[in-house]
């Protein structure tokens, strides 16, 4: 868990989430999450029927990868809120980098928390996930 005397508003943490995303990792996510939408794993359906250039990652895979960066920073079991918007699709071959920024340090229900902004970008610096989170900290 983050310690209040070691953090400041404006602090950032950055991590590379995945390099050269493989279709197999998307398959892993489909299997674990139970979301077998063919748009994510069935190249024939996705290109010939749905009209996309290839399969693409579940939004929730992007959110999950971004969540790994977030929990590595704020600690296990510290999040009280985590929400995102999926701003662009993530494709096989993409490399994703994610940054979180402390935007506030405050009280919430008698505990100290930080508010964080989160943005994940691809190799072309296009945001694919933007959002925010709140995490408990040690005062």
């Amino acid at each position: 868990m983050l310690k209040e005397n070691e953090i400041n508003i404006g602090d950032t943490h950055t991590a590379t989430l995945v390099e050269d995303l493989k279709r197999t990792q998307i398959v892993q996510y489909a299997g674990a999450s139970g979301d077998y939408n063919p748009l994510h794993t069935d190249e024939i359906f996705t290109t010939q029927v749905a009209g996309y250039p290839s399969v693409f990652a579940h939004g929730m895979l992007s959110m999950g990868l971004t969540g790994t960066m977030l929990t590595d920073y704020v600690g296990d079991g510290a999040l009280t809120k985590y929400g995102v918007r999926f701003t662009n699709q993530v494709w096989p071959g993409d490399t994703l980098k994610s940054t979180t920024t402390i935007v506030d340090i405050r009280d919430q229900d008698g505990e100290r928390v930080v508010d964080l902004e989160v943005v994940t970008i691809n190799q072309n610096e296009v945001p694919v996930v933007t959002g925010n989170a709140t995490a408990k900290i040690e005062s």
């Binding site: 892993q28 069935d42 929990t71 918007r85």
Partner: protein
């Protein structure tokens, strides 16, 4: 969609954590997890979404026998999707626009959750990249075996008129 029993199981958590690139031992090493303040294996923050595994009628999973599945086989598509419910996934041309989680109480391996889902707001928007967009929200409440609210999840799904230009 409602799930009566969403079993929070250590092996499922391990597989889910792997799929999101997370090697944190809190998700797979029981001895380590027990030595922490949390006292056991916990699920990653987006794990709640995998309650779909426990929904007997989940439309984005092929039925046993594969009947009615819309993915490719001999043909590029099997059939039309059976349902177009919005929020958190969508059908063939449905995409996930937003997802929000609120964590009220800790969840650990060994817990059994149940869920109830209610539709939220719905709205429309014109877009250059995908034509008319129909957004719909769904709000899912996750309760533990004691009946306590542990997670609130709000999903926003969008149905697009055509494939999104990239």
């Amino acid at each position: 969609m409602a799930v009566d029993k969403f079993l929070i199981e250590a092996s499922h958590i391990m597989m889910f954590a792997r799929s999101v690139g997370d090697s944190n031992p809190i998700y797979h090493d029981e001895d380590y997890a027990k030595s922490t303040e949390l006292g056991g294996i916990i699920p990653p923050p987006t794990f709640a979404q995998s309650s779909a595994q426990f929904d007997p009628d989940y439309f984005l999973r092929p039925k046993v026998g594969g009947d009615g599945w819309f993915g490719s086989g001999k043909e590029a598509t099997g059939s039309k999707p059976s349902s177009g419910s919005g929020g958190g996934g969508g059908a063939a041309m449905g995409l996930h626009a937003e997802q929000h989680f609120e964590y009220h109480l800790p969840v650990k391996a060994g817990d059994t959750l149940s869920t109830t889902t209610k539709p939220g707001k719905a709205w429309e928007k014109e877009s250059k990249r995908a034509g008319k967009l129909k957004f719909s929200e769904s709000v899912t409440e996750y309760r533990n075996q004691n009946g306590d609210l542990v997670i609130t999840a709000t999903g926003v799904g969008v149905q697009t008129e055509r494939a999104v230009d990239s």
